[in-house]
């Protein structure tokens, strides 16, 4: 039981990170019907920028409290990622807005490769380690170990999701986003500045990605230039699972995928008597992706098209 609970906790932590990244995919898809494959790399850049800031701060003032240093890292990473996403949209996607849908998709893959190689040039090919400055306190709960960092990740992720929900549902910008998602032409006729809304969508997604990037590097204690690739694919699967284009779906899909992965990798060996081992961990996300595409292409919450943003 305690082992099951521990797997569940692991899955929820991982899942809330997936959910944050998935939001970026789903928001952009909701408005542009574009799968922004460079989004995983934006997450990676967020982690790398934050780590650079954290390293510099620690070098300058080693006595600063760890939480403050990491917070400073996040606060620099967010605008950096926002600027990056704004630029990507402007340079790579906007000129192709009237092109066939395959063109921006290929461009997205190109941007992803460019960002990966850029990061390799800037930060090198090695794994960059996340300094151990965060409190490592652990709590025992029914035999499962839950660390302060895990609680912080889940709470922060939920707070970001709630904030995004408010933004989409309660603000003028949110209404403009929803209107653009329903029909770009009509929204434009009603006086919505569609270009600005699309830019804003990319920027908000990138800000969330930056937070997710710092979370993932703090959680695993490292970052590297290709970390965004797998993370991006998993988050994309999560977005599809929840119903791509649907914000609540991305949150649900992310959390579910994390739990499926953790439980799958944890129990597959015992359940199949060692025939299939835990090295199939990464495969679960893609099983889920294929399963959803075959049996329920609109995803779990997919049919509620009206609320997509």
């Amino acid at each position: 039981m305690d082992i099951f609970l521990q797997q569940l906790v692991n899955g929820l932590v991982l899942g809330s990170i997936y959910a944050l990244v998935a939001l970026g995919y789903t928001m952009v898809y909701g408005i542009l019907e574009l799968i922004n494959f460079a989004h995983g790399e934006v997450t990676m850049i967020g982690a790398m920028v934050a780590l650079t800031v954290i390293g510099a701060l620690l070098g300058a003032a080693p006595d600063l409290p760890g939480v403050l240093v990491v917070l400073a890292g996040i606060l620099v990473a967010i605008p950096a990622c926002m600027a990056l996403a704004f630029t990507i949209e402007k340079i790579a996607y906007r000129p192709l807005r009237k092109a066939p849908r395959l063109a921006p998709l290929i461009t997205a893959i190109g941007v992803s490769i460019i960002l990966q190689n850029l990061a390799m040039l800037i930060w090198g090919r090695q794994y960059v380690s996340f300094p151990a400055i965060l409190p490592t306190r652990k709590y025992e709960f029914l035999g499962a170990n839950i660390s302060l960092l895990q609680i912080a990740i889940v709470v922060l992720a939920l707070a970001v999701m709630a904030g995004l929900w408010l933004l989409v549902e309660k603000t003028r910008l949110g209404r403009a986003m929803r209107a653009t998602a329903q029909s770009r032409e009509v929204a434009e006729l009603m006086g919505v500045n569609v270009d600005r809304v699309i830019s804003a969508t990319f920027i908000i997604g990138a800000a969330i990605a930056a937070i997710a990037g710092v979370m993932v590097s703090a959680y695993y204690g490292l970052a590297h230039y290709y970390m965004g690739f797998m993370l991006g694919l998993k988050a994309f699967s999560a977005a599809v699972l929840g119903g791509i284009g649907n914000i609540a779906g991305a949150m649900l899909g992310g959390l579910l995928l994390g739990v499926i992965e953790a439980l799958g990798a944890g129990y597959i060996g015992d359940l199949t008597g060692g025939f299939l081992g835990s090295h199939y961990q990464d495969v679960f996300a893609f099983f889920v992706l294929i399963g959803v595409l075959v049996f329920r292409p609109s995803g779990l919450l997919g049919e509620r098209v009206a609320t997509r943003a």
Binding site: L14, P131, K138, E261, G266, S278, H279, D282
Partner: protein, 381 residues
């Protein structure tokens, strides 16, 4: 003369020039001998790969500075560094590229998983391959007369680790994780054999891959089986985060690994959680190597800190050149005939080969992380 004819004659002229260019260097007596060096130069193992290449390059530069004569002619060695990305698929492409480029021998590859598929290509081309660091037993067990290595293999290392785990570390319940590469799997299997033979009980055998960073699921599953030791067959980019997650999940089991963990990067990635981790490395610690401190000085003056296998790459080049000198030729067939008679005092220790191409009598050293650095525990033969 129409344009087509003009173009053809221009081309043939250019070709003639380039050919005469080749001939010219030969006639002055300064023959260039091409040697390949293959290791991952991109991806998570880049630091170790570059280290291998630098080790080989240092040897080549020193030999060139000393001057080498084969068959009465002065020759210059040229090292062709290639990147196999630690990918078996890329390894075969790179191997073919080197063969096509006309190298007479190859130093590499770094990983067993890349060395083994590439060895077929070198074997078919009939050129010697000396791996500084591939330790999987299977590499030299294929019956290729072209496959050699200068480091003790996994059977020797796994045996030492298995005996140490059940002996000095007193482990009774042992969990094993391997990264499914030829190296990780081979080492883990040899370890499992030795540990079981010495009375240890294997309570779990889990798997990951050489790109993973999340081990919480398998470690949690392992935790449920209450081991007192976790053995990892794999490299430091996985071992580092694994050590962290092990502690975070509240496992009390100690982490034990092979030479893939025994480097400075592991300690950096694992941070404070590296304390108490034990790992082995074939051969002697660099400072106990006969030529170790001196090698370190020469290497660090040029390339910075030694990562892992540089001394072995350095030795591999020297073994090759010694064989060339004995054969008095760079002809691969003659060099291969001379390799079995190798008896070289290398930086890493004396190097002799058995019939398969393995080194004889390689020592294994065990290390433990204390106060943020690897300290020698003991050396076993």
């Amino acid at each position: 003369m129409n344009f087509g004819k003009f173009a053809i004659s221009a081309l043939s002229l250019a070709l003639a020039f380039s050919l005469s260019g080749c001939g010219k260097t030969e006639s002055t007596g300064d023959t260039v001998i091409k040697i390949g060096s293959v290791a991952p130069l991109t991806g998570p193992q880049t630091h170790i790969g570059k280290d291998n290449e630098n080790g080989a390059r240092l040897a080549v530069d020193e030999i060139n500075a000393r001057g080498l004569e084969l068959g009465g002619r002065k020759v210059t060695l040229e090292l062709f560094g290639e990147d196999d990305q630690a990918e078996p698929k890329t390894a075969t492409i790179v191997a073919q590229k080197l063969v096509d480029a006309g190298v007479v021998a190859v130093i590499g590859h770094l990983n067993s998983g890349t060395t083994i598929p590439a060895s077929k290509i070198y074997h078919d081309a009939g050129i010697p391959q000396i791996s500084p660091s591939a330790t999987a037993v299977a590499y030299t067990a294929q019956g290729y007369h072209t496959a050699w290595r200068v480091m003790a293999n996994d059977a020797q290392q796994g045996r030492a680790l298995g005996q140490f785990a059940t002996g000095k570390m007193g482990a009774k319940r042992i969990a094993i994780i391997d990264d499914r590469t030829a190296y990780g799997q081979g080492l883990a299997n040899e370890f499992e054999k030795a540990a079981t033979a010495a009375g240890g009980e294997i309570v779990a055998h889990e798997f990951t891959n050489d790109r993973a960073t999340d081990f919480t699921a398998i470690l949690t599953s392992i935790k449920g089986k209450t081991p007192d030791l976790v053995f990892f067959g794999g490299m430091d980019p996985q071992g580092g985060p694994m050590a962290r997650q092990l502690k975070r999940l509240g496992l009390t089991a100690r982490l034990l690994g092979g030479d893939g963990l025994q480097n400075a990067n592991f300690v950096k990635l694992a941070g404070v959680d590296a304390e108490g981790v034990v790992a082995s490395s074939p051969g002697l610690p660099i400072d106990s190597m006969p030529g170790g401190p001196d090698f370190r000085k020469r290497y660090e003056a040029k390339y910075g800190a030694i990562q892992l296998y540089a001394p072995y790459a350095y030795d591999a080049v020297n073994v090759l050149v010694a064989a060339m000198t004995r054969a008095d030729s760079a002809d691969p067939a003659k060099v291969l005939a001379a390799l079995p008679k190798t008896d070289l005092q290398g930086v890493s220790g004396p190097i002799k080969f058995d019939a398969k191409g393995d080194t004889t009598g390689g020592a294994i050293t065990l290390y433990e992380v204390k106060d943020g650095a690897w300290r020698v525990l003991e050396t076993v033969k």
